[in-house]
Homo-oligomer: 358 residues x 3
């Protein structure tokens, strides 16, 4: 079967006023200036739109060559600006809306490549794309509007909801369940065996991992991220959670809703994590602990104990982020502290000696 | 050729007495209660078997709805328990035995998919499964009873022993050697070039990596784990060693027998590691060092020097685990120590001044 | 089409004198001794050539059974040596030259396997190898002499220069640009979406990542390394840079020329890194910072602020490497320092009391 492309062309030139109207913002400058592309504020070219959300980048706005800049309503320039401004409540979220509009206008593949392998016992929904060399196993169910790229492996009895995008080289082992509108980036692995071994004298005896992985709606997994199947029951990732690249989720872990983890985070077995948490890159969590809701962990934090709702931790081993920062500053002074303690000791001993002499 | 399934059905309902007999344990409660599935102790349902090995979970046993709980012989309940107990020497190992029994009863694929590519100069053993889109290169040898999943790449002149399971998207580069009963999870890479470059003025000149990787019997590699080939000679993983997901083993490393490494550990080039070591997640080892037998490293430990047999280290840079824990506690008190030293200094200077005045 | 092999056989036995002549070095010992293979100095066999570059391995040279050892011109043996020496300016670089010679003599595959999928709208150069199950998308351009291994995915409109080697299971997303003589190891991912989400009440809204990745000439990416595409514009890796396995490069990062990063390093979004930097394993960098040229970072360093040219940092959070080492030594003495401060306090209070009594 031939792969076709559905391309919804949209007009790609807009005036400042049209953009302000679309975003429910206001124009500050020439409302007729037109843009046809995006640019970064430090590299902006005429005819492009850029944005200012992070105050760190404010100095670029006074020099940018971009024609239009999205800014927050409360932005007060400290120098003259050449570009037209569109003031919106949230410049970053407004940018996201515009990017989405452009993204949705792009072509989308549809159809099943004749070089894909689809088991006769698999069920495939409507309007899907299944690329060459994709493998869909027995009893697997793929929902509507899914995009399964080349070289994806979907094991036996896997179910995948609607509107999912599964990029090349993803492996989903047998029996795993995936909700709607999930995105799995290239090389991610779902349902590999948990790391479970029972010591038997000198050797380790493998504990079969008979559970699965359940991923709810609207979850995104980064490239080469791994999520192990449970020894029994399920490893669970709840809806709206986003994991960056090279993250490791061990067996029987449960990650709450709308939690985000930056790249290379590792979560050990059976740990439970709440909703709306934010973990920096390379964070490590021990197994069998409970992390509450709204917990923030700084990059490279190492957490060995359960953490209550709303806490912010840093360090390895991690503790309160403000206290860690203070200890860290003093850490750099340790050699002088050590010398000073020795000096105090010498002086005090001298005084004691003299004092006793009297 | 058609892929067939070998399914060895086993009776899946057992009484407490049958299970106790099989495990050489004893029943404490109703010997006739029947189970047909496994469950986690905190989620246990009637008709299921669970286990208690980690004392941390003891409070669940007094509320579990599971019908049967495997416990260690010396377990003494502190409250009444509804479930029937089966007392065994090692609850975890007994659970593993039961899980294995169930696992072995599951179907196993056999046969070579007609969409696989197998070089005419490759040798394939008996009773193998080779999935669609698997690639077996020239001169490669695959032993008996191996399961090679779709999208596996086995390079030229690779040899693989009997009873290995190689999951999708695994790459084994040319000339590598693999023993019997190994399991390689999805996306793992064996035999990629070691990271070797000679500085040549401004540039780096690649040092060809002409060695290979040798993996002995009974080794398990986690998903997306990488093992680089040696510059000359072999990178070696000895028998019974288990590596979790996203682990990095650099060129010319040698890992001893029955050593276990949790996820995201990284071992730099030419380092040698002994037998029966246990490394926590995200541990990093420098290159060209020697780690003895029975060495334990805590999560995120960073080790830059050789370590003798039997040591337990933690921290980055790592040292004796008990000492590290003590230093860590004091680390949190650094700001108050700093203030106290300054206060001592002021008071001592005042005393010295007054003392000299007299 | 049939895959052919181009094999350029070279004579593989050389005398010490021939090797010295080739390397512009001098013979110290029997110039007629012959070698036909390489070996490690600690495992050297008769008839093999080995090298001594790292002084740590010097003790092996007095016992090695290798027939020939490359050493630096200034090497002064402290004991008698049986092997013949070839003295060269840089033993490691000379070894690299010899290994390269052997490597180039090995066969190279050429031809396009009939099981590859190549879009009719793709352009493929001359003398390429494209393996079975490789996928080349619409509008993609592959340069001359490239080797595209089985299971590689090259997305629509990707361009790849000449003489590149792309190993199995690599994914290159649409629109990415790759220069000449690059090497991408198995499982590496180029162009996956950057990790960008705008908070929308309880949920996160995906920010489409509309940019791409640009990789200049002579870049090597390790196995399972990931490089995300930019939100707009490009994530850039400049020429000559080498990344080891499992490295993470986030969206809009720019890495300078001839920079090397060891395994498992992670760079967060929009950070810019200079030329000739060296990062140890598991280093983590925050987003939106600037790292100068010639910056060295020790293994597991965590860097949250911009760093000037030529600095060497270690620790998490990282600071000057010499200061970090000194603080680290004192860190191990924290418990005794804490006790000593308390002791000083007690003694001082006692003196004050007695002093005031008088």
């Amino acid at each position: 079967m031939v792969i076709t492309h559905i391309k919804k062309e949209i007009e790609m030139e807009f005036s400042a006023q049209q953009i302000a109207d679309f975003l429910k913002g206001s124009v500050d400058g020439n409302p007729d200036v037109k843009v046809h592309d995006f640019s970064k504020i430090e590299e902006g070219k005429p005819g492009t739109l850029t944005f200012l959300a992070n105050p760190k980048y404010e100095h670029h706005i006074y020099k940018t060559k971009a024609s239009l800049v999205l800014v927050n309503t409360d932005f007060k320039p400290s120098e003259p600006i050449t570009a037209t401004l569109v003031r919106v409540e949230n410049a970053y979220a407004s940018l996201a809306m515009l990017l989405k509009l452009v993204d949705q206008s792009k072509e989308r593949k549809i159809g099943i490549n004749e070089l894909a392998f689809i088991s006769e016992k698999a069920t495939v929904g409507e309007d899907v794309y299944i690329g060459a060399f994709a493998f869909i196993g027995e009893g697997a169910r793929i929902g509507n509007n899914c995009q399964i790229y080349p070289h994806v492996y979907i094991g036996d009895n896997v179910t995948i909801g609607d509107n999912c995008i599964i990029y090349p080289q993803v492996t989903i082992y047998h029996d795993c369940k995936v909700g709607d509108t999930c995105i799995f980036h290239a090389g991610s692995v779902i349902g590999s065996d948990g790391f479970g071994f029972a010591p038997m004298g000198e050797r380790y005896d493998k504990i079969p991992q008979l559970g699965n992985v359940m991923i709810e709606n609207d979850v995104e997994l980064g490239a080469n991220t791994t999520v192990d199947r449970a020894v029994m029951g399920s490893t669970i990732i709840h809806q709206g959670t986003k994991l960056d690249n090279l993250v490791q989720i061990a067996h029987n872990v449960e990650v709450g809703e709308n939690t985000v983890m930056a790249a290379q985070v590792g979560i050990a077995g059976s740990t439970k994590i709440g909703n709306h948490c934010m973990f920096g890159g390379q964070v490590g969590l021990a197994g069998h602990i409970q992390i509450g809701n709204n917990v923030n962990l700084g990059g490279q934090a190492g957490v060995g104990h359960s953490v209550k709702d709303g806490q912010s931790l840093w360090g390895s081993p991690a503790f309160d982020v403000r206290k860690f920062k203070r200890s860290t500053i003093v850490f750099g002074k340790l050699p002088e502290m050590y010398r000073e303690i020795n000096q105090l000791r010498r002086e005090l001993d001298k005084i004691k000696k003299e004092f006793n002499k009297e």
